[in-house]
Structures are given as structure tokens and as C-alpha cells.
């Protein structure tokens, strides 16, 4: 059976891509953010994942409102990045772990998740930049399975539903007949809001409480509906749904191995955490 090595959760704003492209990692503005990944990469050396299941939200690259899935799972041999409209450099393609993709799809549909399955899929900055933060050389030592959650158009799946999705992803991976080492990567948040008169909203107290909750009381955030979560975390802070589903995939207990929290990058409170399943 496959072995779950742990999970990384991180923010993912486009500005990170510009900073990487321009080599600004050591500039005073960016250093507190990028330095948060040094320990993550140290951890990765021991964790040695073979496969990464990436839980992220598409920002209008692969999906439009003509066909907007609640949950989409990739089952492609390769995933390429593409121009998202700002002309930032694209990131090298990723190899898909198709066997795990289809194992997940069969398990999740059996468990009454109404997936959209994608045998072709472009992956946007929410997928590529966290991967580039973990493996800056960008020649990926892992295969991937993308899982995409709708945060573009209401109604969004509830935090409760995302928790259940994550739980079942974890169960499926644990039941996967493979000796692969599997990592989860959840990307999005933390608190931020891009649009409206409330643009620039950040909620540090909530973010810190949310990060704490992932190990102490992991279903804490499921008490709120999507609108309530937007009130607390901002319109894009709702991307914490990916953190929640990722945490759920780890199983009942989890311990925190590393975290960093920094305000701001671009308009966003940025966070990164490494968690391992409780022994």
C-alpha cells in the first residue's frame, strides 16, 4: 500500500511567479516569504515523495463558466502550464501519475463524489508556483495528480464537503496498491480580498487560529458556510478550502512540522505549513 509522507499547504499568488522570474528571492520585500520554504525543502529531502496530489483552484485558465466543475480530477499523462494573461514565464510541464488519478476517480465516484474527470488539463499558477517553491530547479522529481476545487463561482462546495473530499482522497491513497511515497500539496489563501471596496482586507487573527486548528481541532473551519468564510478571510481567502481538504487527507491526527506566516505578499497574507500524519 502507498505511504503518505505528509502535506504541505501554501499560498500561491501570481506575484510569486514574477519574483521568481526576476530573481528577487533575497530582496527585503520577498525574503521573509521565500525563506519560509528553506525548512520545507529540508523536510522534503527526508520525506522523498514520489507522487504529489495537488489540491488547488483554477483561476480561469483551464475552466470557464461554460463548464464549471465543483471538483475536477486530472487523469492526463502530462500537465502543461500556459499564459494566464499576464505574460509571466511558463513553468516546465509535469508528468501525471495516471494510475493514481484513476484509482482516485474510481474511489471517489464510488463514494458519491460527482467528479469531472480531465484527461487534458492546463495547470495555472496555483499549481505551478507552489511546485516551484518546493523544487526551485523545476526539474520535477515527482509525478502529480491535480485535484481542482471551484472557488470562482458561487455556490462553492462547503467547507464540510471539502473536508469529506479530502478524507476520501486520503483513504483512497492509503488503499492504493503501490509502494509509492505520496505527498499532498494544498495551495491557496491565506486571508486576502482582491475585489471591491474591501480590497486589501487581511485577517491575521483568523489566519493564525486557522493554522493552529489544523492540528488541534482540524474541522474547526467547517462550522462556517462559504459566505461566512469570505467574511472572515476575504473573497480569495476562501481558498483555505484547499488547506482544509489537504489536512483531511492526512487522516485523524496530524502534527505540525514547520510553519511560516508573513504579511503581505502582493495583497495577501501568506502562509506555509508542513504537517505529517500522527504516528
Amino acid at each position: 500500500m502507498a505511504h503518505i509522507v505528509g502535506a504541505v499547504t501554501t499560498s500561491h499568488v501570481p506575484a510569486i511567479g514574477k519574483a521568481i522570474a526576476k530573481g528577487l528571492q533575497s530582496e527585503p520585500y520577498w525574503k521573509p516569504f521565500f525563506d519560509g520554504f528553506i525548512n520545507v525543502r529540508e523536510w522534503l529531502k527526508d520525506a522523498r515523495p514520489d507522487v504529489v496530489v495537488v489540491l488547488y483552484n483554477d483561476h480561469g485558465l483551464n475552466f470557464f463558466l461554460d463548464k464549471m466543475p465543483t471538483f475536477a480530477v486530472g487523469a492526463a499523462p502530462t500537465y502543461t502550464n500556459a499564459d494566464e494573461g499576464w505574460g509571466i514565464p511558463t513553468i516546465p510541464a509535469f508528468s501525471g501519475e495516471q494510475a493514481l488519478s484513476w484509482h482516485l476517480i474510481e474511489h471517489l465516484v464510488e463514494q458519491e463524489f460527482d467528479l469531472t474527470t480531465c484527461q487534458e488539463m492546463l495547470v495555472d499558477h496555483a499549481f505551478t508556483l507552489p511546485m516551484a517553491l518546493l523544487w526551485p530547479e523545476q526539474n520535477w522529481p515527482v509525478k502529480v495528480v491535480p485535484v481542482c476545487i471551484n472557488t470562482v463561482q458561487f455556490p462553492l462546495p462547503s467547507a464540510k464537503r471539502c473536508w469529506k473530499l479530502g478524507e476520501q482522497i486520503g483513504q483512497a491513497v492509503r488503499a492504493w496498491d503501490s509502494d509509492a511515497r505520496v505527498m499532498f500539496l494544498g495551495t491557496g489563501g491565506l486571508s486576502h480580498q482582491l475585489e471591491g471596496e474591501r480590497a486589501g482586507f487581511i485577517n491575521k487573527d483568523f489566519d493564525l487560529a486557522f493554522m493552529d486548528s489544523l492540528t488541534t481541532n482540524p474541522q474547526w473551519a467547517t462550522q462556517w458556510n462559504s459566505a461566512e468564510l469570505v467574511e472572515k478571510a476575504g473573497t480569495q481567502g476562501i481558498e483555505l478550502l484547499m488547506w482544509l481538504a489537504t489536512r483531511a487527507a492526512l487522516g485523524d491526527g496530524a502534527r505540525e512540522v514547520h510553519r511560516n506566516y508573513h504579511i503581505p505578499i502582493s495583497n495577501t497574507a501568506s502562509g506555509v505549513m508542513v504537517m505529517e500524519p500522527a504516528a
Binding site: 480561469g60 463558466l65 499576464w86 463561482q153 475585489e195 471591491g196 474591501r198 486589501g200 487581511i202 469570505v230
Partner: protein
Amino acid sequence: MCGINIPGTQLFDKTMAVKGYALNKMCFSFNEAANRQAFLADEEGYMRRYGLNEQQAAAIRAKNVLQLLEAGGNAYYLAKFAGIFGLDMQDIGAQQTGLTKAEFQAKLNAYAAE
């Protein structure tokens, strides 16, 4: 939809999704460089091709984000329109909040100290 009113915030719900469809579809097309060029070469013709209504076209001409949101624009797609003009998220944040970019950045930084 959930009985919550969040000041300065409009959720992109069914009402906005219907209202903004043409506008968002045009912005989605800006993923491709050739479409961005075509827009810049003939903004009015491009908007007509996507069937924007007058409110949407006026908001695009004005490059006014609050007006674009009011006309049904979705933040994720509008970002692609903003990208055409090299505007980053802080430019957009400043415009929407009536601040200079420096003031908007100071507001963000202030959250760190809380």
C-alpha cells in the same frame, strides 16, 4: 445568498454570473496573447464580438474595476484584463479603495503589526 451582507463585497453568485457572462467570457479570451493584441487593435469591435452591453463596455473603456464588478465582472477573469495594461493587484486594490498605491501598500503592511 446566505443572509450575510459583507460591506464592500459582492459575492460572485448566480445574479452576477448571469449578468457578467459576456464580459467574463471576453476576459477569459485574454489568456491568449493573440486575443490581447486583437483587443488592443480594435477595442470596440472586440467588445461587440463578445456581446458586451453598454454598462460593460463603458466600464472597460474606463478601466474602472468597481464598475466592471458592478457590471458582473469576476475578479479571476478581470485580472486578465488588468494584465493587458500591466496593472498588478496592488494597482487594482488602490484604484478600488480610492488610495494611492503607496497608501494601499501601507494599509497592507499595517496588518502585519496587529
